[in-house]
């Protein structure tokens, strides 16, 4: 068994003459909360999409959950969860139906889906909302539910693409409590974010600039290396050298 949840070596993605992701190399350990930072257009979404199997790499090597990204994509899919930048639940289905659907497409048995639904509703204190349409839930609740749903099949790794966009600070804190719980149970969390306070919560962070990983380490290490007060300063010092503008 590979102790590394994700292992990436010289992974590259080109769109024509444009190199979106330029030979990035890093490892993520099992159970780690790995923050994946970068300005807009730095290439972090493209990198993450490759690891999730949504985009095919141009070159380089990668294993996810111990499986080869090129040859064992189907095995990887069983073992990862994904929460997209956009909201990933169906608004015209109820909370219970959403859980059932995602449990179903991951091949869970009826009994497992039932048990999961109970766990989730209890964990999120949403028992009374089980039959409410997702549309009528407040944004923060939806976001938390969406995260729990991405864990419905107990994946080894969960990819979160800017999961807290547009959410108020209190809900963001609650959301991070859920992330900690999941990491505590052994799930590896791979998260992109624009909030530098969230970067502080991660075990390790990488910062992408112009398609390359320019810095990698624990928040403490990075702050020391760049002699910065907080992660925001680290980020600014790195991002200022960027040649590329917004996407």
């Amino acid at each position: 068994m590979n102790p590394k949840a994700i292992s990436v070596e010289a992974l590259t993605k080109r769109f024509g003459s444009f190199t979106a992701v330029d030979a990035i190399t890093f490892d993520v350990a099992q159970g780690e909360i790995f923050g994946f930072l970068g300005a807009n257009g730095a290439g972090k979404t493209t990198a993450m999409r490759m690891l999730c199997g949504l985009s095919f790499p141009t070159s380089g090597k990668a294993t996810v959950a111990g499986f080869d990204l090129y040859k064992q994509a189907e095995k990887i899919k069983q073992r990862i969860g994904y929460m997209s930048q956009k909201f990933s639940l169906y608004e015209d289905l109820t909370v219970r139906e959403n859980i059932r659907f995602y449990g179903g497409i991951y091949g869970l048995s009826d009994a497992a889906i039932k048990a999961k639904t109970q766990d989730m509703l209890t964990g999120l204190h949403m028992q009374s909302e089980a039959n409410t349409l997702v549309r009528s839930l407040p944004l923060g609740w939806r976001q938390k539910l969406s995260f729990s749903v991405s864990l419905v099949h107990d994946p080894n790794i969960v990819f979160l693409d800017e999961p807290t966009g547009g959410v108020d600070p209190i809900t963001r804190r609650e959301f991070w409590m859920l992330i900690y719980e999941a990491a505590h149970r052994g799930t590896t969390v791979f998260v992109t974010t624009h909030y530098m306070d969230e970067a502080e919560y991660c075990n390790r962070v990488s910062i992408m600039v112009d398609g390359r990983v320019d810095a990698l380490g624990s928040p403490q290490e990075l702050k020391t290396r760049f002699s910065a007060e907080d992660m925001g300063e680290v980020f600014l010092k790195l991002a200022r050298k960027a040649q590329r503008g917004d996407e």
Binding site: L54, E74, Y82, M83, K86, D92, L93, F101, I105
Partner: protein, 368 residues
């Protein structure tokens, strides 16, 4: 398979929870059939006409009795003199006036130069034409009978038979057309919108990350619309047979098979649209402009293809609705068997396969 069923179930929930979708699926076909069948008909039935009888003899009375007896016309007014003719039309009482000249019987039997004038309200030229034709037919018919009684040695009998649609009913034309329209709308438009919607709200990404095979996602998206279309086909056929009195002359099995073939073609068209449309609005626009309009304009449903300019005739060949419309008309109204329509069926099948290949390729491409 289990995953697939979960997906189909979810799709059904989407359909059932959206009132607009439900309306398009169930109310619209019925409404269209009834509107086209009853309101928008150009057939002649109990049309109000007037008579200006300047002759008032036996022959004119016989002719008037014939007009009166036909189910096409109701004589509602007798115009007393020529000067009042226009006033009758101005009041909008009648659409047609039959003017019988003085000494009608005399000229009919002896001078052999009898003439009847038909004055029609041509504000609506098509109706005017149709009415004049009907009235002429009745008058000719009367003349024919007279000739037979008198045993004139030289006479040419012309007998007009309207094949396949003896009563010249508009609904014979509309039923196949409405069927093409409804299936296009339900299958192509709704499918494309529902796929684009998943992409727009971001759930498509999550589904593509999951282990479910993309092809199954596509099929699962089509299944509910396919089943609902089958329901629509049934309700349209039932309505046309029992409400509009349009019989199914040919084989029901063949007819239904052709309908299902067209349904699948339309589903693939929807899939293809979903691969090019960036948003639900664009998908809807492409469906309306690219599918719905050609179905109405180029299938021969509103305007006969033979009368179109040559370039449009050529274009009409790539409109699947044209072939479907032809097939339904041939099977349902003319009662033709498969041996007469296999060529058109083959064309439609070819289109279906082509669309499938193109759209699957494009769809896969979008995932990279």
């Amino acid at each position: 398979m289990r995953q697939f069923l979960f997906f189909v179930k979810k799709e059904f929930l989407h359909v059932l929870r959206d009132p607009r979708t439900m309306f398009i699926l169930f109310a619209m076909p019925v409404m269209q059939i009834l509107i086209f069948g009853f309101a928008l008909t150009n057939e002649v039935k109990n049309t109000r006409i007037g008579i200006l009888d300047n002759s008032r003899d036996e022959a004119s009375a016989q002719l008037i009795a014939r007009l009166e007896a036909s189910r096409y016309f109701d004589i509602v007014t007798q115009v007393d003199k020529n000067e009042n003719l226009e006033a009758t039309f101005r009041k909008g009482e009648v659409k047609l006036v039959v003017v019988i000249p003085p000494s009608f019987q005399e000229s009919l039997f002896h001078r052999n130069d009898a003439a009847v004038q038909l004055v029609a309200d041509a504000t609506d030229p098509n109706t005017a034409n149709t009415l004049a034709n009907y009235a002429t037919a009745i008058i000719m018919d009367y003349q024919q009978d007279l000739r037979n009684q008198l045993k004139l040695p030289y006479s040419i009998n012309t007998e007009l038979r309207m094949l396949y649609n003896p009563q010249l009913k508009g609904s014979y034309n509309f039923v196949p057309g409405v069927m093409a329209m409804v299936l296009m709308l339900v299958c192509a438009m709704m499918t494309s919108i529902s796929i684009v919607k998943e992409r727009e709200i971001g759930t498509m990404e999550v589904i593509l990350v999951s282990p479910i095979v993309p092809l199954r996602v596509i099929i699962a998206k089509m299944v509910p619309y396919f089943m609902l279309s089958a329901g629509n086909i049934a309700s349209i056929l039932l309505l046309s047979v029992y409400v509009l009195d349009v019989p199914i002359q040919g084989s029901l099995l063949l007819l239904v098979s052709e309908c299902l073939l067209f349904t699948i073609t339309a589903l693939y068209l929807g899939l293809l649209i979903s691969t090019i449309a960036a948003s639900q609005q664009i998908a809807m626009l492409i469906s309306l402009m690219g599918l719905f309009l050609p179905t109405i304009m180029l299938s021969g449903f509103m305007f006969p293809v033979e009368n179109m300019p040559v370039p449009l005739q050529v274009i009409s060949n790539i409109v699947p609705s044209k072939w479907f419309y032809y097939l339904v008309r041939s099977i349902m109204i003319k009662g033709l068997g498969f041996e007469h329509v296999w060529k058109e069926t083959l064309i439609l099948e070819g289109m279906m396969v082509f669309l499938l290949v193109v759209s699957i390729r494009k769809f896969k491409f979008r995932l990279e």
